[in-house]
Amino acid sequence: MLRYSRAKIIGVLLTVVLGLLFVMPNFLSPGTREALKNGFGFLPSGLLPHQGIVLGLDLQGGSHVLLQVDATAIAKTQINQLRDDVRRILHDQKVGFPGGITVTPRGVEVRVPDASERARVTGPLSDLGQPVGNTGFGGPRTLDLTQGNDGLIRLTITDAGVTDKVRRAVDQSIEVIRRRVDALGATEPNIQRQGNDRILVEVPGLQDPQKLKDLLGQTAHLEFRLVADQGAAPGDVEQLPSQETGGTLPVEKRVIVDGADLVDAQPGFDPRTNEPIVNFRFNVRGGQRFGQATAENVGRLLAIVLDNKVISAPRINGPIPGGQGQISGRFTVEAANNLAVLLRAGALPAPLTIVEERTVGPGLGADSIAAGKLATYVASAFVALFMFAVYGMFGFFANFALLIHVMFIFALMSAFGATLTLPGIAGIVLTIGTAVDSNVLIYERIREEVHNGRALVSALEAGFTRAFATIIDSNATMLIAAFILFLMGSGPVKGFALTMVFGVLTTVITAVTMTRMMIGLWYRMRRPQTLPF
């Protein structure tokens, strides 16, 4: 066993070189890394290892925000829309429904007493529902139609329908959030879906997390409506809070144009008053409607409504053609900036609530890195000294294997673009302590075999062979625990689990194969008769 085939030795050396190659980018400047990525101009791009380890938010500082789409709000809009749709169909089909349409927690109910009329509308009504997903026919639908006594028609939004709507809302929200976060100028934000109704936003190195939260917390649904005249029908008017006066304003429910028709919004200053404002531009459709509405309502007040609050209500002095306009509202410069960003990024399909927030300042992150480095060095020194004190030359072999082991962990993490977190550093320090375990198992076994009267060569051989099964069993249990931690953990804890998994995997290679080679080499060079420890 102590004699290795040349191929095997070359294989191990190649692995080490590969490991070095993957670790290298961590020590290079970003510019050199970019050059590596592009293959220095003549190699295919992406061929050379160019990724470094990504530092977790807890190490580089940054914000981790978990948002949840408000499912009840979505269901409410969905039901309101359903009610309008049902009313429209019943009107179109000229069907009488004396009791009106009742809204239930999960849908609507309507009583159509006449049997033939009822038969006429059930078809169109049930067509309001759509199949969920791409399953085609026979799959679950968004709407359930059931009939009760006395001509009662009950339309219920199914669970699948709600889930589907929430899923879509999350997809749309992610796009909107991406545009908003990009506007902050953050580098490499991570925005992803989590579960069915949550969105994880991770933004590294942010100076002002409050601004991020402000941007995420607003739906930014902009509407242009008219302030109601005295004689308007009460059903068409609602009272909305006004930011200008602090009181409320009666505003028509009818929306002239909304934020969806905006193509641009930029912060600026009013040339006359020098007050911060937001300049906007509509698309063609929005511009036409806006022009028409302003032409028809000269002299009236135009309410600019953001998230059901009236920002300002200027008087329409004349038709505004060309689809351009401005919003004033006693903004600060920053508020005008934020509003412009929000309007450009578009409205969220539903309100989002922040259910979890974790922000680490850059100071703490830097301190953690420094402490982690120090702990790693000290732990390595402790373990290396101890191993050398106990096993002498063999301890040195183990320490060399340990060095390669740590290098492999970093190489694997770089290759997979894994994230190094503070608990991850703890994991690495811990594997430094446990990685030598395999060596200890082997050495103690060799020692026993020598004590049992075996010759050195056969004791060395037996030590490696017999300890191997134990090494596999003991590492497998560690691996199982680490793997489960990886599956269920999140963020920093996941980073810890990952380093543990990598640590266990590489220890088997370095402690078993590499030490074995070193000892084989040592034996052939020295031809010792006794064990050096």
Binding site: V355, V383, L422, G433, T434, I480, A481
Partner: protein
């Protein structure tokens, strides 16, 4: 050069006899831990209770905890827990979920920023809503249970059921005593603590498996050795390794406790406690438990039956070969 040797060669300690002491001792410790768990309870962090954690560092001088409490009391409902660290310039403040919707949590943090931005650096702000914290508790518990079951199954396959049960008894023991550490020291129990517990599960099993591995090997070699003697031999012959590994693991964790910084200190302390308890339990709990779980050398009758089985199997093969 004279090399260091922490365990002399060829020890013949009669570990198994210690079970008369170690079993009641561990049972008592576990009972105390359980009693503390039920009466005092764990010092749950915001991961599990919901709420907000704010870590501040004074921009100059020391943090004034009393003044901070007073400031926060102005807009935070419920008790504010404050803890100093470092040389008194750092302080962590913790309070429970604020009544009202999720926005109420953000609002409180915003007010803290307004009140303290001038004099303190905000090193860390964490807010966990009640919905998320419930899920975290659930996931953590499921993870620990899943790990135990998975390892039980693995050991069942690799060893025998008795060994698997013995190993799990040891591991449960280690978890309970580590919880005892949390309870007595009032160390905050959070998501990282779950990670520590799972790592301790892995480490504890690692320790136990090495001893059991030897037991299994010796069972094959010395078929008629009494079980107590055989277990003593297993523990003694792996004792040097057990103590070596415990020392290296403890050394590296000690480095973490001392130099790892305040954010990781608790984690390292818990792990250190886990390593010590795991080493103890591998020798004094899991191994002796095999006596009661019915692991034994083969009896004469079994040996005879086995021989016979081999013979008959051999004859069968021959018969088939000749057929």
């Amino acid at each position: 050069m004279k090399l260091l040797r922490i365990i002399p060669d060829g020890t013949k300690f009669r570990f198994v006899r210690f079970r008369k002491v170690s079993f009641p001792f561990s049972a008592l410790c576990s009972l105390i831990a359980a009693a503390l768990f039920l009466t005092v309870g764990l010092n749950f962090g915001i991961d599990f209770t919901g709420g907000t954690l704010i870590e501040l560092q004074a921009k100059s001088g020391k943090a004034d905890v009393a003044a901070l409490r007073q400031t926060l009391a102005g807009f935070v409902k419920g008790e504010v827990e404050a803890q100093e660290f470092g040389n008194g310039e750092g302080v962590s403040l913790r309070y429970g979920p604020q009544p009202g919707s999720e926005q109420a949590q953000s609002e409180a943090v915003r007010k803290a920023h307004e009140a303290l931005d001038q004099t303190y650096e905000f090193r860390r702000v964490e807010t966990v809503g009640p919905r998320v914290s419930g899920e975290l508790v659930q996931n953590g518990t499921i993870g620990v249970l899943l790990a135990i079951v998975a390892v039980l199954v693995y050991l069942w396959f690799r060893f025998e059921l008795q060994f698997a049960i013995g190993a799990i008894i040891g591991t449960m023991h280690d978890i309970v005593l580590t919880m005892g550490f949390f309870l007595i020291t009032r160390t905050e129990f959070n998501m990282t603590s779950i990670a520590a517990i799972l790592t301790i599960i892995g480490y504890s099993l690692n320790e136990t498996v090495v001893v059991f591995d030897r037991t299994r090997e010796l069972l094959r070699r010395y078929r008629r050795m009494p079980i107590a003697e055989l277990l003593d031999l297993s523990v003694n012959s792996t004792l040097a390794r057990t103590s070596m590994t415990a020392t290296t693991a403890a050394l590296s964790l000690l480095a973490l406790v001392i130099f790892g910084g305040q954010a990781i200190e608790d984690f390292a302390k818990v792990m250190l406690c886990g390593v010590l308890v795991s080493t103890y339990s591998a020798i004094f709990i899991s191994s002796p438990s095999l006596i009661y779980l019915g692991v034994h050398g083969k009896t004469d009758a079994e040996l005879a039956a086995e021989e016979k089985g081999k013979v008959s199997a051999a004859t069968k093969t021959t018969a088939r070969a000749s057929a």
